[in-house]
């Protein structure tokens, strides 16, 4: 059956991958001619792309509509502030390990409980847990209260006492973010083509049938939930490093809603859709917030953003990715 395997490979790899590779190459070249403002904006879009892909794993690939994904983003961001001392830059390794383990632990608890429910109950329980995390940071002095914590030093990538990358210098932050984006995309793309990823697709389509075939679906879903949380925390780490400040707003439910809108806007079921959605959402937000374009009306940017999103969803039910025609057809197991 070599022809069949070859068909599979042909159909799933090249045409889909090419635009993504071109996009990554353009991103790598961008700082050479973009101004600092735009490099910073693109950096933010890349972080949101990672965040959106981590939620896409849950919503688009496994069919778990989590409305509390910002909790894990926020935990990652706070991990940076907690680990960073007042006097010196922390090791990035330590920051990432703390962020990923903390969000994984919280996701294990939230997932273990919420995955016993389905549909709207799952949505509500994930939201409730995320709001719990929000209030812990907001109402206690544990994370600096509602003001949050400023970072005086960004964590540095170190090897022993040797500093490999100082993220305060030059475009290190930008390229570090790009490296994380490429790694996240590659990791998820490989994962989704594996037996595990195909099992998630099967669970999304018909969980009962998967159980009848012999898949114990609960640990599969829990695994996806924890993995999505870990990747979201990585995006949170990057966000805190980029902005140099963390505050409870990172975990608030609007943030969970925004990332959900990103993946819906881009087109559920595709990693590329998640990235497109993050791009579109952030650009729209920037445009509507611009006083140069909208004058004093720009303070009503949320109204304009909301209307635009409604228009998008109404006219493009398959998301932005649907504009690219048949190629965006649902991926098979």
């Amino acid at each position: 059956m070599t022809t069949m395997a070859a068909d599979d490979a042909m159909r799933t790899r090249l045409p889909k991958l090419l635009p993504v590779l071109i996009a990554f190459a353009l991103l790598a070249a961008f700082p050479a001619f973009g101004s600092t403002f735009y490099v910073d904006l693109v950096g933010k879009i890349m972080i949101y792309s990672i965040f959106a892909m981590s939620l896409e794993l849950l919503v688009g690939q496994t069919g778990l509509v989590s409305f509390g994904h910002a909790a894990f983003f926020g935990i990652g961001a706070y991990a940076v502030a907690m680990v960073t001392a007042k006097v010196d830059a922390a090791s990035l390794w330590l920051v990432v390990v703390v962020a990923v383990l903390a969000s994984a632990a919280y996701a294990l608890v939230v997932g273990a409980l919420s995955l016993r429910t389905k549909g709207v109950y799952f949505i509500m329980i994930t939201l409730a847990f995320a709001q719990m995390a929000f209030f812990v940071f907001h109402d206690t002095s544990f994370g600096g209260g509602s003001d949050g914590i400023y970072l005086y030093y960004k964590p540095a990538l170190t090897l022993g006492s040797l500093v490999l990358v100082d993220f305060d210098k030059g475009r290190a932050m930008y390229f570090g973010t790009l490296a994380c984006l490429v790694a996240t995309f590659a990791f998820l793309a490989v994962l989704l083509r594996s037996r595990y990823g195909r099992a998630l697709a099967g669970i999304k389509a018909n969980e009962q049938r998967m159980r009848a075939a012999g898949f114990a679906t609960y640990p599969y879903k829990l695994g996806a939930f924890v993995l999505g949380a870990m990747i979201a925390s990585l995006a949170g780490v990057l966000f805190a490093m980029k902005d140099g400040v963390v505050n409870p707003e990172l975990l608030v439910w609007n943030q969970s809603g925004a990332v959900l809108l990103m993946i819906i806007l881009g087109g559920l079921g595709h990693l590329r859709g998640a990235m497109l959605g993050a791009l579109m959402f952030t650009v729209l937000q920037e445009v509507y917030q611009s006083e140069a374009l909208f004058g004093s009306f720009s303070k009503h940017w949320q109204l304009m953003l909301g209307l635009t999103i409604i228009a998008f969803v109404a006219t493009m039910p398959r998301g932005l990715i649907g504009l690219f025609g048949k190629r965006a057809k649902k991926e098979a197991p």
């Binding site: 395997a5 083509r193 099992a199 009848a212 197991p333």
Partner: protein, 251 residues
């Protein structure tokens, strides 16, 4: 190994006060097709759901391939060798016939933690899927999207997906439902072949079909078994005639 693959003893399933399945015992033997008939609401589908582990048992015991499987979850029973098909289609319409079967076959892939190998490189599940498709007679449409198949082909795919998991016991819930005459003939031929190597429990409404293919027939009324015997003996049983088959059948 003994050829008795599944033994259900005194199985009951109550929903509140309703005894959907009440003290039912069945034995499934390799090479034998055991049909369960009964009117709507007699408890046939509930019986399959209890045997497959989809809903919990109230009382009774289930022995699967010599193991006490009464408390086993559905996925565990499935991996042990119990396959089932559904009365309504449970195929994945947006995947091809091949991908549907490969997906279920992968329940058996031993390397659960291997997250990097593409499924297309798993030779075992590909072969299991193709064997099942061949056996179910779907080779001509192997690369078609499942959602575009005819109703009869979808029913065949339902069984192929079950076969791809390499089961020893097959619980088939109305595989003939809604089929035309020609499709029914093809499915009956398949059912006859499936006996070879499997123990088959068949739930079916089509009486002519049941009496043609079954080796043993159990008749259920209101959750209870009123007869369980060879087709000839069931046909001759006055109790069955009275309760279920009706006058026109006797004539």
């Amino acid at each position: 190994m003994s050829d008795i693959l599944l033994v259900a003893t005194g199985v009951s399933r109550h929903f509140g006060g309703l005894k959907a399945v009440d003290d039912v015992s069945v034995t499934l033997t390799r090479g034998e097709l055991h049909a369960v008939i009964g009117t709507n609401g007699a408890g046939k589908s509930t019986l399959v759901n209890v045997l497959s582990g989809e809903i919990p048992i109230t009382t009774g015991a289930i022995t699967l391939l010599g193991h006490d499987a009464t408390r086993w979850t559905q996925p565990r029973r499935s991996r042990a060798g119990l396959g089932r098909s559904y009365q309504r289609n449970t195929i994945f319409p947006q995947f091809t016939v091949f991908e549907n079967c490969r997906l279920t076959a992968q329940a058996r892939w031993p390397k659960v933690w291997d997250w990097w190998t593409p499924t297309s490189r798993c030779a075992d599940s590909r072969e299991a899927a193709l064997r099942a498709i061949e056996r179910a007679g779907l080779m001509p449409v192997v690369q078609r999207l499942a959602g575009t198949l005819s109703h009869g082909q979808k029913r065949q795919l339902e069984i192929a997906m079950c076969l791809a998991t390499d089961p020893q016991v097959l619980l088939l819930d109305e595989p003939l439902a809604g089929m035309g005459a020609e499709e029914t003939e093809r499915m009956l031929a398949l059912l006859g072949e499936l006996k070879d190597g499997h123990a088959v429990l068949l739930i079916e409404h089509d009486m002519d079909a049941v009496f043609r293919v079954a080796d043993r027939i159990t008749v259920m009324v209101n959750g209870r078994v009123i007869a369980s015997d060879t087709p000839a003996a069931v046909r001759a049983s006055p109790a069955v005639q009275l309760a279920y088959l009706g006058d026109e059948f006797v004539a």
